[in-house]
């Protein structure tokens, strides 16, 4: 029984250490954040926040139609991140508001698709605040 206990204690400690060391591998070393990281993206959208109303609803334009957003992981993630950054303002891709956030992956695509709008502020990288042109 004594040997069995020693052996089982060894198994328990091995399982613990191997799994913790494996978590170290999964976690990786400390790294510097890149522009793709949510925290950096969040900070970038805080600049946009200064130009927006504190609350209410605002429109949203992206690479796809509102209905097509669910299919594109990147587009969807950008939209979710924008909502996260700008809460409690509600971002609605289906809303027809005068103020609209444009959040494109490709800035040239943004220029092409936002012809009915005036750019209030271009934040670069496909992110801009637009206002509907009054005819």
């Amino acid at each position: 029984m004594g040997k069995l206990r020693t052996l089982s204690l060894a198994v328990l400690i091995i399982v613990t250490l191997v799994n913790l060391l494996d978590q170290k591998r999964l976690t990786g070393p400390l790294y510097k954040q890149t522009a793709d990281d949510l925290a950096v993206y969040d900070l970038r959208l805080q600049e946009l926040r200064a130009f927006l109303p504190r609350e209410g609803v605002i429109g949203y334009l992206s690479d796809t139609t509102p209905a097509g957003m669910e299919a594109g992981q990147d587009v969807l993630q950008k939209f979710y991140r924008a909502q996260y950054a700008l809460a409690p303002l509600i971002i609605n891709p289906e809303a027809h508001t005068d103020l609209v956030i444009a959040n494109y992956s490709d800035p040239s695509l943004a220029r092409m698709r936002t012809k009915g709008f005036v750019v209030i502020k271009d934040f670069g990288g496909g992110l801009a605040l637009l206002q509907k042109k009054t005819s």
Binding site: L4, R5, I14, L26, T27
Partner: protein
């Protein structure tokens, strides 16, 4: 030491939960919450936690415990290493996993930034943020931000850190207190060695806090049966169960499970006249926070997106769904922890290493495993009636459900062994 740790975990968990409810109620009626006023409330709850800690009927004299100094030091070193890993992971992923920022931290931002418009989080365009999810975690994060006077990612990291290690502390101290420190430390090591538990905790998700309250309720119910039916423990168990419901929707199922299993299994050997009294005491602890949760669910939040009466009959009659869910349950439970070493290997070692022995108290009812079985059966049924894509939902949620129950499973395994010793010895 473990008695103090157990008392601290109980008092801490309950006061955190009640603080979250207080903040939510306050938020519901006040446009702004001042930091100074919230500091005062926090001081009040800290005092309350101290009172709960002192009043807990935990004996200081325990059955003789052998000296396990080396094991205790090894355990503390492993805890420190796990804390370091938690820090690195939080540094690399400060906003947590997708669901952490897209659901929990987003809701916290509405509570903190929203002023009198915080309830806009329930708006139709935000259906994808699951606005029907209860608000224990978002409220606690918003409490932290209000106290700090600004939004900082440190707060959600700290909240998840505290719940992760409080769960380890609660499991270790409760098993150590009820059994012996060798057994308790082995259980704590096993929990720390469970990759899914650690990753979920450091991802700032709500499954670990829910797992904490499920474990806390189970521990309090065991202590109640152990401590000559001290009503304070049953009252606190009710509060803890309600806090589980205030943490995640699965907590509502847990409340039902706790009541039904308590009635069917635990109350069985007791005189019938005691049952209503016990139920009332449990209800006194349960009802205030459960009422808040149900008010939130039925009056404020939109309906849950996985239930619908449309096509319910077909889903219930579809035998293929049952087979698919059953297969997934078995497969996921078998590979829990994979591709790392399975915690089940550790569990077997744990049972051999810290086997049952003689014990002075023998009044344990065996309600833990029926409780877990009820929960699993409930999860199974929810999958059957869900309107979501079944395979997608199973793949994305089932491992988290195991994480919610895993600490309690480890605790029950220890107690099941105690039970065996009662019959054998």
């Amino acid at each position: 030491m473990f008695r103090r740790c157990l008392g601290a975990c109980i008092a801490f968990g309950l006061c955190c939960g009640v603080l979250s409810c207080t903040f939510f109620l306050w938020r519901s009626v006040a446009r702004n919450i001042s930091s100074a006023a919230l500091w005062l409330v926090l001081a009040g709850y800290t005092a309350l936690a101290m009172v709960v800690y002192r009043k807990l009927p935990l004996e200081s004299t325990r059955p003789p415990i052998g000296s396990r100094r080396i094991l205790s030091i090894a355990f503390l070193l492993v805890c420190c290493y796990a804390a370091w890993l938690f820090f690195i992971r939080s540094w690399n992923y400060p906003q947590g996993a997708w669901d952490a920022w897209a659901i929990w931290n987003l809701h916290a931002r509405f509570l903190f930034r929203g002023g009198d418009q915080w309830f806009q989080m329930f708006s139709r365009p935000l259906y994808w943020t699951h606005p029907d999810y209860p608000l224990l975690l978002p409220s606690l994060i918003a409490v932290g931000w209000t106290l700090a006077g600004k939004e900082t990612i440190l707060i959600p990291v700290m909240v998840s850190f505290v719940f992760t290690f409080a769960t380890v502390g609660l499991l270790t101290s409760s098993v150590s207190y009820l059994w012996n420190d060798r057994r308790g430390i082995a259980a704590g090591l096993l929990l720390l060695a469970t990759p899914d538990f650690f990753l979920n905790g450091s991802s700032q998700l709500a499954d670990v806090p829910l797992g904490f309250f499920i474990l806390l309720t189970t521990v309090l119910l065991y202590l109640y049966d152990e401590r000559d039916s001290n009503t304070m423990l049953l009252l606190l168990a009710g509060t803890s169960a309600a806090l589980a419901a205030w943490t995640k929707n699965e907590g509502l199922l847990f409340v039902l499970a706790a009541i039904v299993v308590r009635l069917l299994v635990s109350a069985g050997p007791k005189p019938v006249s005691i049952i209503p009294r016990e139920l009332c005491t449990f209800a006194y602890g349960l009802l205030p926070i459960l009422a808040l949760t149900l008010t939130f669910k039925f009056w404020l939040a939109p309906p849950n997106d996985i239930f619908s009466f449309v096509g319910l009959g077909e889903r219930l009659k579809d035998s293929g769904r049952y087979a698919q869910i059953g297969r997934h349950f078995l497969k996921e439970m078998a590979v829990f922890g994979a591709p790392r070493l399975s915690p089940f290997c550790g569990l077997i070692a744990y049972l051999v290493y810290a086997p049952a022995g003689k014990r002075s108290r023998t009044s344990f009812p065996q309600s833990g495993f029926p409780l877990l079985t009820f929960m699993l059966a409930g999860y199974f049924f929810v999958y059957v009636i869900s309107v979501q894509n079944l395979q997608w939902q199973l793949t994305n949620s089932f491992s988290r459900l195991i994480v919610q129950l895993w600490p309690t499973f480890l605790f029950c395994t220890a107690c099941a062994d105690i039970r065996r010793s009662r019959h054998s010895g």
